[in-house]
């Protein structure tokens, strides 16, 4: 049995009367690729922000790599990587400068920064682009750099909030290669997405409807359970009942 890296119990976030995330409970094991699905406004981003320490829960419990979500946010932050749907590198800095900056504020040593950025640029095959400003690169490249930067400090979990929004299928494919490579190294991947083909790539998926988790299992089991041909049908079956619309 692999160790549990994310454990939530009835995690809830309210904004006034609005319950964005309602008693969310689940567990994620080390090295898992955990898909986090749901329609727009279902509460995915809210839940993910709580897990990353960006937002304080209203009630409920959660532990991330063994640290308490209320009291030990700084320890959590040292051990997680995060990549949001908004592109989050500095566009007016070059690829190398971005790597250096983020590695630096995570406290990596100068030698480490040098080695890692050289390695990263080589892996991504970006020798020619390393001195270019990030803003001038195509979206697919930016996404890949973002993901690699989120892994620089060797986190135990990486949270990806709709990372592949707006990129072409080829880049998405390449992006998933990076995800698999990271998961092989034992890094837990927590990913939210709207693409059902991507859902099939996950080890387990949860589907959120109106702030609560309505289904949680492997893609194969879910299809069986809902008697569906593919994930699209599963998702449709569940999301159809949603009352909330963005």
């Amino acid at each position: 049995m692999k160790e549990t890296v994310i454990k939530t119990e009835k995690l809830t976030k309210k904004f006034g009367n609005f319950i964005a995330a309602n008693a969310v409970s689940f567990e994620v094991k080390k090295g898992e690729i955990f898909g986090f699905l749901g329609a727009n406004g279902a509460g995915k981003t809210t839940a993910m922000r709580m897990l990353c320490g960006l937002s304080t829960p209203t009630s409920g419990k959660a532990q991330i790599v063994g640290y308490d979500i209320y009291k030990q946010t700084n320890l959590i932050k040292k051990n997680i990587g995060y990549m949001s749907q908004k592109f989050s590198l500095y566009e007016d800095l070059t690829v190398v400068e971005n790597i250096r900056f983020f590695a630096g504020i995570y406290g990596l040593s100068n030698q480490d920064i040098k080695d890692k950025s050289a390695h990263l640029i080589e892996t991504l095959g970006m020798q020619n682009e390393s001195k270019k400003r990030v803003g001038t690169l195509p979206p697919g490249w930016k996404q890949k750099i973002s993901f690699s930067v989120a892994l620089l400090h060797e986190p135990k979990i990486v949270f990806l909030d709709e990372p592949t929004g707006g990129v072409d299928p080829l880049v998405r494919r390449q992006f998933w290669d990076l995800i698999y490579a990271a998961a092989d190294k034992g890094i837990t991947i927590f990913i939210s997405t709207h693409y059902m083909d991507e859902a099939e790539y996950c080890n387990r998926i949860s589907i959120m409807v109106d702030g609560s988790i309505k289904a949680l299992d492997t893609p194969v089991h879910l299809k069986h359970q809902f008697n569906a041909k593919n994930m699209d049908e599963v998702f449709y079956e569940l999301a159809r009942g949603a009352k909330r619309r963005e």
Binding site: K77, Y90, F101, F102, I105, G107
Partner: protein
């Protein structure tokens, strides 16, 4: 410390790459210092004067020529109808009417007494006031000249007259630039400090990069210092640039200690940076930040005694001025640059600016949240 080094490196790289901002930081001090002191001048010239002369005597002629010779007035009409002159005021062609009554010369000599009428177009308050005052002075001088003649001619004892001879301390030639330039330097530092800080932080919110910073274990005070230090340095640089321009162009050399001046500016910058930071914690978009920063800076500048002295404000406005860091900055600039004030003279100001710095920064730090 190492974290701050990375933050500063990133911040300075970004600022120096931002060509429009860099350009503006050079242009703003140059333009403000070259144009404002020359244009925003209280000295009123070219006052349009309409003279209505009902007397047509040697004396009235002499009065009018005295007035035009002063260089402040432009004689635009000379006639004998008040209503015509009044039409000129109505059509905004004239600012002042001087009406010389009939028998001006005769009454002046025989009765030793005469009255003239000055009508002022008060729409432009400053011009009207000063124009009226200039005209008064000229007429008084003219009056004295005439008395002197009588005294000599008729060997009468002169009527004692109190003559006022002002001596202008600290600015003997009443050089207007000397008064304005230190004030404009104060404004420059205020603008750079507050606008740039506020916009810089809000930009990170808008683009979303702040989210990426917030998921890192970076400490709140590291992040804030990383934002404040670059603009503190830039503020001091722009101030030095402004000081150099005021020396090169206007020959202004601070009478007091340059070190003391820098010490005060360094502290003052902390308070305006704090204001910028505070604004940024309440704004989500650069548009909001710009508008709010503009509002405060405008009020601060108008209430800070740059154009109108704080002493002549109504009591309630004096309170506003006292709650305004810019007031102290402008005062201290003038004190050190023009009067050569020392540390003890500016100590009360120093303390107040320190309090402002503490107030704005602690409020901003308190309101700055890494989590929601």
């Amino acid at each position: 410390m190492r974290t701050i080094r990375f933050l500063l490196q990133k911040e300075f790289t970004q600022i120096f790459r931002n060509k429009p901002i860099m350009g503006m930081m050079m242009i703003v001090p140059i333009v403000q210092l070259l144009i404002l002191p020359l244009a925003a001048n209280y000295e009123v010239k070219n006052i349009n004067l309409a003279v209505v002369d009902h007397d047509h005597s040697t004396y009235s002629q002499k009065l009018v020529s005295n007035i035009t010779a002063s260089g402040y007035f432009r004689l635009i009409s000379f006639g004998n109808s008040y209503s015509k002159a009044y039409q000129l005021i109505e059509s905004d062609q004239a600012d002042l009417i001087l009406e010389i009554p009939p028998d001006f010369e005769r009454n002046l000599i025989r009765d030793n007494k005469q009255k003239v009428l000055i009508a002022v177009n008060a729409i432009n308050g400053t011009k009207a006031n000063l124009g009226g005052a200039y005209l008064n002075t000229i007429i008084r001088n003219y009056n004295e000249d005439i008395r002197m003649q009588f005294v000599q001619n008729e060997k009468k004892s002169p009527i004692p007259l109190i003559e006022i001879k002002p001596v202008n301390w600290f600015n003997p030639l009443m050089n207007y630039n000397l008064f304005m330039v230190p004030g404009i330097l104060a404004i420059l530092v205020t603008m750079i400090g507050s606008y740039l800080t506020a916009l810089n932080i809000v930009k990170e919110k808008e683009v979303g990069t702040i989210e990426q910073i917030n998921v890192t274990p970076i400490k709140k005070h590291h992040f804030i210092l990383g934002k404040l230090i670059p603009f503190w340095v830039l503020g001091l640089l722009v101030f030095s640039l402004g000081l150099s321009i005021s020396f090169i162009v206007y020959g202004i050399i601070p009478l007091g200690s340059l070190l003391l001046l820098y010490e005060f500016v360094a502290l003052y910058l902390l308070s305006v940076l704090g204001l910028g930071l505070l604004i940024s914690t309440y704004c989500e978009t650069q548009q909001q930040a710009m508008f709010i920063a503009f509002f405060f800076v405008m009020i601060f500048i108008l209430m800070g005694g740059l154009f109108t002295s704080v002493e002549s404000m109504p009591p309630w406005a004096k309170i506003v001025a006292k709650l305004n860091p810019v007031t102290y900055m402008i005062e201290v600039m003038r004190m050190i640059v023009l009067k050569g004030s020392g540390f003890n003279d500016i100590l009360p100001h120093l303390v107040k600016v320190l309090l402002f710095a503490l107030f704005f920064n602690s409020w901003a730090v308190w309101n700055y949240k890494k989590t929601s």
